[in-house]
């Protein structure tokens, strides 16, 4: 049985990754799971300088999921390269760094620094965080803006780039095509859906930022639909995510066209989720006599 999957020339031992922002840099969850078992660790979004993020409350529970407005708090690229990458290098897993910024220049600065780090296999460009005022989402909700930033980053990136798409758009296929035409090597989706929760007793917002990004099993059907539409609109590989809790969920995304999947909010609910999904995919392949994982991609 071969669980390998290849994205933009990079081969992963299995299709299970961590969704950026839900797994830190792996250190916290290394107490629960053996990182060597994962296809890749995708680190929390990092900018050119440290970001303090948003005021609290930053998270709230919703039916079947959660809202978050962390605001991309991060220690900056230098700390990531000095502290977090060396930690992850100890493990036999791929490293993908998620990159965020407020301006194109911010992104480029981070991308260039990462170019000197061969241990980083791919870069995921976050143009879809709904929780930061400037930058980020502004690039992710307009096809022309997405094209522009993708082209600029491609000029400077040594590693293949994954454009992480926002689900808060009218036509995900159009966005996927825009990123592909601008040179993206792969796509990942979905980032969180913008949501809101109001405390009816205090008559205030549950999240200081008013709106937050919604994740968790509740959003899975929307994510599966968008992954299906994106995967059928482009030739480049798609990494699927959005509410994956079990191997069954992961396989649903793969059948919809995803070449790999990421576990996000469910790490918070079940710290063993990533490795359980790896084992569950193997069990499914065995049960249905699937020899190569790649035979399942888009096989609906």
């Amino acid at each position: 049985m071969n669980t390998q999957t290849t994205i933009a020339g990079v081969t992963f031992k299995n299709p299970v990754m961590t969704a950026s922002g839900t797994f830190g840099s792996g250190m916290e969850y290394s107490e629960f799971v053996d990182l060597n078992q994962l296809g890749a660790v995708v680190t929390k979004g990092v900018a050119n300088v440290p970001w303090p993020g948003n005021p609290t409350p930053r998270v709230a529970e919703v039916y079947g999921g959660m809202l978050n407005a962390i605001g991309l708090q991060n220690p900056g690229i230098d700390v990531l390269m000095e502290r977090d990458i060396p930690f992850l290098k100890q493990y036999d897993t791929r490293i993908i760094v998620n990159v965020c910024g407020k301006t194109v220049e911010d992104y480029v600065e981070v991308v260039e620094k990462l170019g000197d780090e061969p241990a980083v296999s791919m870069l995921e460009i976050n143009v879809s965080c709904p929780n930061v005022k400037e930058g980020a989402i502004a690039f992710g909700q307009r096809a022309d803006a997405l094209c522009h930033i993708t082209q600029e980053i491609k000029k400077h990136a040594k590693q293949p780039i994954i454009m992480k798409l926002s689900p808060n758009v009218t036509d995900i296929a159009e966005m996927a095509k825009a990123a592909e035409s601008a040179g993206a090597d792969a796509l990942s989706l979905i980032n969180t859906l913008t949501g809101m929760k109001i405390d009816i007793h205090k008559r205030c917002f549950a999240i200081a930022n008013k709106t937050g990004g919604m994740s968790g099993p509740a959003i899975k059907p929307i994510a599966v639909r968008m992954v299906y539409q994106a995967a059928h609109a482009v030739q480049i590989p798609v990494i699927g995510m959005g509410g994956i809790a079990t191997a069954e969920d992961a396989i649903e995304f793969i059948l919809a066209g995803a070449s790999a999947v990421s576990i996000g909010a469910m790490n918070f609910v079940n710290p063993y989720a990533t490795v359980e999904v790896v084992r569950g995919i193997e069990a499914y392949m065995e049960r249905y006599h699937v020899e190569k994982l790649t035979d399942l991609i888009g096989a609906v």
Partner: protein, 261 residues
């Protein structure tokens, strides 16, 4: 030790309106420290996030942990229905806990407000090992005459209750009790609502004494990964490299001077 496990409920009872007292059998008791907390997960799949609940008492010999919590929503409401023999899904033990050694030989305030009172019990127990019992002054702020855990606390220190309605002890909050009873201390340990903690921070800074306060914030992961539960810090935090510390892992206990609340 940090582990997610399915443990067994030994017993549970309601000890005040909406306030429940649950004993859980788990080997996590062997390493649990006063001021640490558990994440408790509802079983209903519509509520996924853990509920952080502070550890009230530890019985290492019986591998048992005690949590005392208030019903605040659907999750804690579910927990309140658990009985002897039911399973409970927990992640623990989490957080740094109170620095007991700072109290060595000193005169202490343990200040608990409402559902911030429970962690004071295991803390008082532990402090008995480092200072004389008469030095352990437990000021417990209640809403009314339902002074839950009072008898337990009295076994480990001198208890001064304060009640919002004046039905028991001093009318007012924990600091009103300190004034009314003419108490003083060299170290403070506290847990309770934010206004109370802010007042204690001021009180301690005025007297230039250390105050170790246990903070609360909405959490998602409980293990320091999601950065949901941060508190502003006076200095740049060594882990985050910004003025934010993670309550779940760098806390929940902070020296009041370190945090900007």
């Amino acid at each position: 030790m940090k582990q997610k496990q399915t443990a067994m409920v030994v017993s549970q009872q309601e000890i005040a309106p909406m306030i429940y007292d649950m004993w859980i059998e788990t080997d996590l008791a062997k390493t649990a420290l006063p001021g640490q907390f558990l994440c408790v997960y509802p079983k209903d799949r519509s509520t996924l996030l853990p509920r952080p609940i502070s550890i009230c008492e530890v019985r290492q010999d019986q591998a048992a942990l005690r949590i005392v919590y208030r019903i605040a929503g659907q999750g804690t409401e579910e927990f309140s229905h658990y009985g002897k023999g039911d399973t409970v899904r927990i992640l623990g033990t989490l957080g740094n806990g109170f620095p007991v050694e700072q109290a060595a030989g000193k005169k202490i305030f343990l200040m608990g407000g409402g559902i911030g009172i429970p962690p004071m019990l295991q803390l008082a127990k532990a402090l008995n090992k480092v200072t004389a019992q008469e030095n352990i002054q437990i000021i417990a702020g209640y809403r009314d005459c339902r002074t839950f855990l009072r008898e337990d606390l009295e076994r480990y220190g001198r208890v001064f209750p304060a009640t919002e309605d004046g039905s028991v002890g001093v009318k007012g909050n924990v600091l009103d009790a300190v004034t009314a009873e003419g108490l003083d201390a060299e170290v403070i340990y506290a847990c309770g609502p934010m206004p109370m903690l802010r007042a204690i921070k001021r009180y301690a800074e005025e007297r230039d004494i250390p105050a170790y306060i246990s903070l609360e914030e909405h959490m998602a992961c409980g293990v320091g990964a999601c950065l949901g539960c941060v508190v502003k810090t006076k200095e740049i935090d060594r882990h985050s490299h910004v003025h934010n510390a993670r309550i779940c892992t760098d806390g929940p206990v902070f020296e009041a001077r370190e945090v900007d609340i």
